[in-house]
């Protein structure tokens, strides 16, 4: 199988690769006709996976190295046994059916490109950039997909309509802001802030002079009392005078901010709302691309000792086996790019990057009973009451922005992993805010209990509870430093 298929490649620049795994992996390469080949461009490497499936049900896999920390502080090895592992095409019914998975196409493969740093914003001109670009699905416009009733959008059309209205409302509000007024408010706020800073400094100066004169600071702030010295009263009067001016300035600033703050808020909402609309449009284009995602699943179990509490003298009450099964359908990474480039910091050469990740998962089921036997295997209602269902999940996540905020990878001298997004500074903030896209994470439906229909869709039936949608919108990380360590 696999490599025994003939492959015609007339342009050596373009290499078609298929994973040629033996055993339970099935894959094959398809021929290209001349038209397909003529559209291939002469740079980079493309990766396409076709007719692929992986099923580890006949094998055995265990994971070691994880320990349970007992209340007394000792560590006990926990063996994790992987009982099910598969990667198949969408519609495999939790990996039962041998549906083949395809990733990308000849026209739209995963590409490895070598780019010049001079062509990418905020990457050193002299750097060469290795870009891994996942397939995009923009052959059909968003509206075309929305009008195609054969595409199941799982309610995302309604979400898009809602977010488009929110964006239009915001844009209308932005248009209603008079630029002259805005500039005047900003200028006045700046003047007031500067004056407040000046008056605060003057009050601090009065307090410093009081300290130098050996006068209790509280006498200046609260009053010198009946028998206060002339110096005290003079400084006290000066302090109060600045205080009165300060109060006037604060009142004036508050008045300006009553106009300025809503205007600023309205203006600031636009990038986030645009990013939300773009994220949802991206998912809709992906769903309308006629591309199936992958079904991915894993089941594992491990035995742990039970203790009566966390107290150091807690007694062991027995053992139990925890079961976890994760079944994902319609998993697809699309429109994603990872760029890696050489950089230098503090005299050292570094490997930096930026990641623009777009991930869609049609459903994720988390089951806590042993799905290989008993009621959990044979009784869907029993299993459903031990399952959390997540549906219509997408991540549109941006990590790193050129050299303004590179995504840095490193390993510490102790062998631990360090992942870092350099802090945005006041000098780089304007560029970062204007050009680095915001991230969005969305889960359309969270449910518990009931049964998910075999062909997909939302669960329902006995014991079903809905917990609605969850979302993180307009996320921007200005600084991140993650380092692992021993526990």
């Amino acid at each position: 199988m696999g490599c025994s298929q003939s492959v015609r490649l007339r342009k050596a620049w373009f290499v078609l690769v298929a994973l040629c795994l033996t055993g339970f992996v099935r894959a094959e390469l398809q021929e290209l006709d001349d038209d397909d080949l003529s559209s291939a461009q002469g740079s980079g490497v493309g990766l396409v996976i076709e007719d692929f499936s992986f099923d580890g049900s006949t094998g055995s896999l265990s994971v070691g190295g994880v320990e349970q920390k007992t209340p007394s502080g000792s560590d006990v090895e926990v063996g994790i046994s992987v009982t099910r592992l598969y990667l198949k095409g969408e519609g495999s019914r939790r990996g039962i059916d041998d549906v083949r998975y395809g990733f990308g196409s000849i026209e739209n493969p995963l590409r490895l490109d070598i780019l010049s740093g001079s062509d990418i914003a905020n990457v050193p001109d002299t750097s060469t950039v290795l870009q891994v670009a996942w397939p995009t699905y923009q052959e059909r416009s968003v509206d075309e997909v929305l009008n195609d009733n054969s595409v199941d959008l799982n309610g995302l059309d309604g979400l898009l309509a809602e977010r488009r209205v929110a964006l239009q409302d915001n844009l209308a509000a932005v248009a209603a802001i008079n630029p002259t007024d805005l500039a005047r408010w900003e200028a006045e706020a700046a003047v007031r802030n500067a004056e407040i800073a000046r008056l605060n400094a003057l009050r601090e100066d009065v307090l410093d002079r009081a300290r130098d004169a050996g006068i209790d600071i509280e006498d200046i702030t609260d009053g010198c009392g009946l028998f206060g010295s002339r110096a005290c009263r003079r400084l006290r009067d000066e302090y109060q005078e600045y205080g009165d001016d300060l109060q006037d300035e604060r009142t004036a600033l508050s008045s300006v901010l009553e106009d300025l703050t809503p205007a600023r808020r309205t203006l600031s909402q636009t990038p986030g709302r645009e990013a939300q609309v773009k994220s949802i449009e991206g998912v809709i284009q992906r769903l309308g691309g006629g591309i199936s995602g992958a079904d991915v699943g894993i089941s594992f179990s491990y035995e742990v000792a039970d203790f009566s509490s966390l107290a150091s003298d807690a007694t062991q009450t027995g053992t139990r086996v925890d079961h976890h099964s994760y079944d994902l359908t319609g998993v697809d990474i699309y429109g994603t790019s990872l760029r890696l480039f050489g950089n230098s910091r503090a005299g050292k050469r570094t490997l930096d990057g930026e990641l623009d990740l777009k991930l869609y998962v049609k459903s994720l089921d988390l089951t806590s009973c042993d799905i290989s036997q008993g009621a959990c295997l044979n009784n869907p209602v029993y299993r459903g009451n031990r399952t959390y269902y997540f549906s219509d999940i997408f991540f549109d996540l941006r990590l790193g922005y050129g050299t303004i905020q590179p995504l840095e990878f490193a390993v510490t001298p102790e062998g631990h992993i360090n992942l870092r997004l350099a802090p945005v500074t006041s000098a780089t903030a304007a560029d970062f805010y204007a050009n680095s896209p915001k991230s969005n994470i969305y889960i359309g439906h969270v449910d518990h209990g009931g049964v998910r229909p075999a062909g997909g869709g939302l669960p329902s039936g006995s014991g079903h509870q809905s917990f609605g949608a969850s979302e993180v919108a307009g996320l921007r990380i200005q600084y991140l430093d993650v380092t692992t360590h021993d526990l």
Partner: protein, 359 residues
């Protein structure tokens, strides 16, 4: 060229191109000698901890997955909403925070990033039999500022109100109301008498509720307390200062959550000791839970206690230990601040501290 040779050629081409591509960033790997290699051991970045709460039919067993990770971050999000759905006939979300920020920027947005710190985050599963009844993501240690406009909150958040009797009298005068005789009398005797109360999440009628609360306030039937013996001896005074339907003696005792825009998680006044791995002053009880039923969780700040989460999404913003080792509410306000709220710390550069304006 035969097919096999052609295939070999393409495979070699691929390997060459990949190797060339990945080596473009100019990097040099350093070799380790045998001694250095001998020091490298398997890294225990993941640990499991088990626990049990309750017994018999009420027994819940827990498996916590501790992650050996240190995080320093400053992030902003336009909105975080969890559990958006119709609940008990009312639309809304279990948790809705606009303009969320972790960490802040000093000097009112003109200085440097002061990150939110997390050490040893964990994921914990609660089981009854073979059924997961809830899960939570928590932080073994957390310290920093959490900012946002909290419009709906399912969870726990304590507010300590501390002030003097004189401030209460002044606050009443500021409303234009007649000050009750007993308050005037007591304030005349001891205007500096300390008065305090602990507020919590309540509904608009003052009934405590940790589900979709929009206000924080003194629950119905709870009174301001004092440690001043003279004031305490004035019969009927504390009765006047007992909260009912979000009011006491003409003063409002419930306030919108959106008033409190920046909350300290942990004791942010304690500087970090760089010689230790721990985060000094960190809170140990912060977590975000989700479940289809109410679940008791171990309070990691005080493991003798538990925290009950309601079904749905649930955020626990914990008390932390002050310098004296006493548990302190994350929000502490006097009788002026309780009305005006807490100003937001800037989380965007050049924003004047206004939400996530500008970023």
């Amino acid at each position: 060229m035969s097919f096999k040779r052609q295939q070999l050629f393409h495979c070699l081409s691929l390997i060459t191109i990949l190797a060339t591509g990945f080596s473009l960033p100019v990097l040099a790997l350093q070799s380790l000698n045998d001694d250095e290699l001998g020091d490298v051991t398997g890294q225990a970045v993941v640990n499991l901890v088990t626990d049990t709460i309750g017994s018999g039919a009420n027994e819940t067993r827990y498996t916590r997955v501790d992650l050996g990770i240190d995080v320093k971050t400053q992030l902003n999000a336009d909105q975080i909403s969890l559990g958006t759905r119709t609940r008990d006939g009312v639309e809304g979300a279990d948790l809705n925070i606009d303009n969320l920020a972790l960490g802040y920027i000093t000097d009112n947005g003109n200085g440097e990033i002061e990150p939110f710190r997390i050490r040893n985050p964990y994921i914990e599963f609660a089981y009854q039999g073979d059924e997961i009844v809830g899960m939570r993501v928590g932080f073994g240690e957390a310290k920093g500022y959490l900012s946002g406009d909290i419009s709906q909150l399912s969870g726990n958040i304590a507010v300590g109100i501390n002030g003097t009797l004189g401030e209460i009298r002044d606050a009443l005068r500021a409303t234009g109301q007649d000050v009750p005789f007993l308050i005037n009398l007591a304030a005349g005797i001891s205007s500096g008498a300390n008065m305090e109360a602990e507020a919590e999440l309540v509904l608009e009628n003052g009934v405590p509720s940790n589900v979709r609360a929009t206000r924080v306030g003194i629950p119905n039937g709870e009174s301001l307390a004092t440690d001043d013996p003279l004031v305490a001896a004035i019969g009927g005074l504390l009765g006047i200062l007992t909260s009912n339907d979000c009011g006491a003696a003409g003063l409002s005792t419930c306030f919108p959550l959106t008033n409190y825009r920046s909350l300290p998680v942990g004791n942010v006044d304690v500087p970090d000791d760089l010689t230790t791995d721990n985060i000094e002053g960190a809170a140990r009880g912060m977590f975000l839970a989700f479940g289809h039923q109410d679940v008791q969780w171990r309070d990691l700040e005080n493991t003798a206690n538990t925290v009950s989460s309601a079904a749905g999404a649930f955020l626990n913003v914990p008390k932390f230990r002050n310098e004296d080792g006493e548990l302190q509410a994350p929000i502490n306000v006097n009788f002026t601040q309780v009305f005006s709220g807490i100003q937001r710390l800037a989380s965007c550069y050049n924003s004047g501290g206004q939400g996530t304006v500008g970023c």
